[in-house]
C-alpha cells in the first residue's frame, strides 16, 4: 500500500509537470501579450517603450527561460505579480477560491443528492411512466447548456420578482448564503445531476439482475433494503467515477455560470486574466485547478477501495 501511494504520488507529479508545459506554451501560442494589448488600446506604438515594458515584465526572454523562471518561482511559492493589478498573484487568486469552491461543492452535492436517488428510482421503476419522465428530464439536463439555463433562471427571476439575485459577498444568515450560492450551483449542477442519474440508472439495472439481489429478497429483506443497501452499494462505483470526472468538467461550467450570475469567483477571474494575457495569473490559476483535478482523481481511486473490498491497492 505504501509503495503504491509513493508510485501514485510520483505519477501525479509527472502529470502536473506535463500540464505545466502545456499551459505555458498554449498561452504563448495565443497571439499578442499584455504589452500589445495595452499599446493597441492606447493607439500609438513607440517600439522603444514597448521593448522597455516587455523587458520589465520579462517577456522578452527566450521561452525556455521564461518557463524555468515561472516554474522555479512556483516551486518556491513565489507566484509573481499580476500584470494588470500589479498585486501579488497569490493575493489576487486566494480570496476568490472559497467562492468558487463553495459553488463547486454545492453543485457536486446537488448532482449527487439528486442524481443518485432519482437514478435508483428510475431503475427500480424501469419501464414505467415515472421512469420515462425522469429519463426525459435527465436528457434535457444533458442537452441544456448551463449558461443558457442560468439566463433562463435570471429571466424568470426578473419576470416573477422584478429583480435578479445579486451576489452578496458577506451573507448574514445561512439562508442568505444558501440563496447566494444555491441558484447558480443548481444551474451548473443540473447537467451533472442528469449525467449522474443516467449512470446510476444503468449501473443499478445491471446490478439488480445479479444473483445476490435474489438472495437478499430470499432473506426477507424489504425492497428499500434491497435497492439501497444491497444494490446501490454495488452500483456506486461507476457513479463515483462519473462524479470525479464531472468535478473537472465543473470548472468549465463555472466559468460561464459565474459570468452569467456575476459572481466574483476564480473561474470568471480566469477568463478576465486570459483576456489581458495576464500570464502569472493564468498559469498559476490553471496549475492550481490542475492540482485539484489530479487530487480529485486520486480520491476517486481511493474511494473504489472503500466501496469495493475486491479492490486493494498493492504493489
Amino acid at each position: 500500500m505504501f509503495a503504491y501511494l509513493v508510485r501514485r504520488l510520483f505519477l501525479m507529479l509527472v502529470t502536473l509537470f506535463g500540464i505545466s508545459i502545456v499551459i505555458f506554451f498554449l498561452l504563448r501560442i495565443v497571439p499578442g501579450n499584455i504589452v500589445d494589448i495595452l499599446f493597441a488600446a492606447a493607439g500609438y506604438v513607440d517600439p522603444a517603450d514597448k521593448a522597455e515594458l516587455e523587458k520589465q515584465l520579462g517577456i522578452d526572454q527566450p521561452l525556455v527561460m521564461q518557463y524555468l523562471h515561472w516554474i522555479g518561482g512556483f516551486l518556491r511559492g513565489d507566484f509573481g505579480y499580476s500584470y494588470v493589478s500589479e498585486k501579488p498573484a497569490l493575493q489576487e487568486i486566494l480570496p476568490r477560491i472559497p467562492i468558487t469552491a463553495r459553488l463547486a461543492g454545492l453543485a457536486l452535492l446537488f448532482s449527487a443528492s439528486i442524481g443518485i436517488p432519482l437514478g435508483v428510482i428510475s431503475a427500480v421503476k424501469q419501464g414505467t411512466r415515472l421512469d420515462y419522465a425522469l429519463r426525459i428530464v435527465s436528457l434535457s439536463g444533458l442537452s441544456l447548456p448551463s449558461f443558457w439555463l442560468g439566463l433562463l433562471i435570471l429571466t424568470a427571476a426578473v419576470a416573477m420578482f422584478g429583480q435578479i439575485p445579486i451576489f452578496n459577498p458577506n451573507p448574514k444568515t445561512w439562508l442568505e448564503a444558501f440563496a447566494t450560492y444555491a441558484v447558480p450551483a443548481a444551474a451548473v449542477g443540473f447537467r451533472s445531476a442528469a449525467l449522474t442519474m443516467r449512470i446510476t440508472r444503468s449501473s443499478m439495472l445491471e446490478v439488480l439482475r445479479q444473483d445476490y439481489i435474489r438472495t437478499a429478497r430470499a432473506k426477507g429483506a424489504s425492497e428499500a433494503a434491497v435497492n439501497y443497501h444491497h444494490a446501490l452499494k454495488n452500483a456506486i462505483l461507476p457513479v463515483i467515477t462519473v462524479i470525479g470526472i464531472e468535478a473537472a468538467f465543473l470548472i468549465g461550467g463555472l466559468i460561464v455560470t459565474e459570468t452569467v450570475f456575476n459572481i466574483p469567483g476564480v473561474a470568471r477571474f480566469l477568463v478576465e486574466a486570459i483576456r489581458w494575457r495576464d500570464y502569472p495569473i493564468v498559469q498559476n490559476l490553471v496549475m492550481f485547478i490542475a492540482v485539484v483535478v489530479v487530487f480529485a482523481n486520486f480520491t476517486v481511486d481511493m474511494l473504489y477501495a472503500v466501496f469495493d473490498p475486491r479492490i486493494r491497492y498493492t504493489d
Partner: protein, 335 residues
C-alpha cells in the same frame, strides 16, 4: 399417507405462467406435492422443465413481470403463502422458508462481509441486538463446518472458495431455523469432491434441525443418495412421483426411464466401456407450443395415437407411486 399435522409444506395445483413476446407459457402447470417435517423431496428434470420456477414460486420470488402465479395454493405450516400480502410474505421468507441457490460464486453480495450477510438474515426476523446476531452468525458458520468461523465472518465472499461460499449460503439460509429449506441445484456449480461434502452437510443439518427439504436437481445420483421421495417433472408438469426405492426399482414413466438410462455407468473391470452414451432423443418442447396430448410423446419410443391426442392423467400405481402415462404398464416390460 402421513398425518396432516406433520406436513410442513402442502402445494396444491400450483400454476405459474410467463407472459413473453412469443406468447404465454405455463412454466409450472397444475403441480401438487407435499413435504413432511424432516423429509427430503427431490424434484428432478431437464433444464427448462419448471424446477427452478417451482422453487421461486414457493418463495413467491418469481419475477413479475413477466411471470405470475395464477392458481393453486402453497400451504406452509398451515398458512397459505399465496394469500399473504407482500410484507407478511417478507416475514416468512428467510424465516420459515429459506432457499439455497445454484451459484455460490454470485449469490453472496460481494461488498458485504460474510458475517454481516448472515446477521442481516437473522435481524430481519429476530428482535435481537447486533452483538447477539453476530454470535449467531459465527455459530452458524461453525455449524456448517467452516474453520475459524469468527475470522471468516469478517471476510468478504471473494476471499472464500466456492465450497466455502455455499457453506456460508447454507448457514445464512438456516440461521432462522426454517421449517422448509429449498435447495436449487446446490452442488451443480461445485467440484465433485466438494459436492458430496455439501450434500452430506445439508442432510446432517436437516436431520439435526428437523427441516423439510425440497432438493431440486437434474442429477439422479444425488436423488438416490439423499431423497425419500421424488417428483419427476417434464415441461412444467409432474409426470411421476414415487418413493426413491420404488422409482429406481420400477419407473413407470418412459421419461424417468430415459433419465435413468442416461446415467453413464462405470464399466466393470475387464469390460469395455459403452461406445456411445445413452440419451433421450430430441429436446424439451417449446413451452409456448405444447402438444395437445402428452408433452413427452414426440420423444417417446412407446408413443401411440392416444398419447398425441389426450394428456394422460396421474394414475396411482400403489404406495403413492403416481405416473402420468397411458402406457405405464408397458414401460416396465420394455425395459
Amino acid at each position: 399417507m402421513a398425518d396432516k399435522t406433520d406436513l410442513v409444506l402442502d402445494v396444491k395445483n400450483l400454476k405459474t405462467v410467463f407472459f413473453t413476446n412469443s406468447g404465454l407459457f405455463k412454466a409450472v402447470d397444475d403441480l401438487s406435492f407435499s413435504v413432511r417435517r424432516g423429509e427430503t423431496l427431490a424434484i428432478v428434470g431437464e433444464s427448462g422443465c419448471g424446477k427452478s420456477v417451482t422453487a421461486l414460486s414457493l418463495m413467491r420470488l418469481v419475477p413479475d413481470p413477466p411471470g405470475r402465479i395464477v392458481g393453486g395454493s402453497v400451504t406452509l405450516e398451515g398458512t397459505d403463502l399465496l394469500a399473504l400480502d407482500e410484507s407478511e410474505m417478507r416475514s416468512v421468507r428467510g424465516n420459515r422458508i429459506s432457499m439455497i441457490f445454484q451459484e455460490p460464486m454470485t449469490s453472496l453480495n460481494p461488498v458485504m462481509r460474510i458475517g454481516d450477510q448472515i446477521v442481516e438474515a437473522v435481524r430481519l426476523h429476530r428482535n435481537i441486538s447486533a452483538k447477539e446476531a453476530h454470535d449467531i452468525a459465527v455459530e452458524m458458520l461453525r455449524l456448517v463446518r467452516i474453520p475459524e468461523p469468527a475470522r471468516r465472518a469478517r471476510e468478504y465472499p471473494h476471499q472464500l472458495s466456492g465450497g466455502m461460499r455455499q457453506r456460508a449460503m447454507i448457514a445464512m439460509a438456516l440461521a432462522c431455523r426454517p421449517a422448509l429449506l429449498i435447495a436449487d441445484e446446490p452442488t451443480t456449480a461445485l467440484d465433485v469432491t466438494i459436492q458430496a461434502q455439501i450434500l452430506a452437510l445439508i442432510l446432517d443439518l436437516q436431520k439435526e434441525l428437523g427441516t423439510g427439504l425440497v432438493l431440486i436437481t437434474h442429477d439422479l445420483g444425488v436423488v438416490a443418495q439423499t431423497a425419500q421421495r421424488v417428483i419427476v417433472m417434464y415441461a412444467g408438469r409432474k409426470v411421476e412421483e414415487a418413493s426413491v426405492e420404488a422409482l429406481f426399482a420400477a419407473p413407470k414413466h418412459p421419461y424417468t426411464r430415459g433419465l435413468m438410462a442416461s446415467i453413464p455407468a462405470v464399466p466393470a473391470s475387464g469390460v469395455a466401456a459403452q461406445a456411445r452414451l445413452n440419451e433421450i432423443p430430441g429436446t424439451v418442447p417449446s413451452l409456448v407450443r405444447l402438444p395437445q396430448g402428452c408433452a413427452f410423446a414426440p420423444r417417446c419410443k412407446l408413443a401411440i395415437k392416444r398419447c398425441e391426442a389426450e394428456y394422460p392423467p396421474l394414475a396411482d400405481w400403489g404406495g403413492g407411486h403416481l405416473a402420468a402415462c397411458w402406457r405405464a404398464e408397458e414401460v416396465a416390460e420394455v425395459a
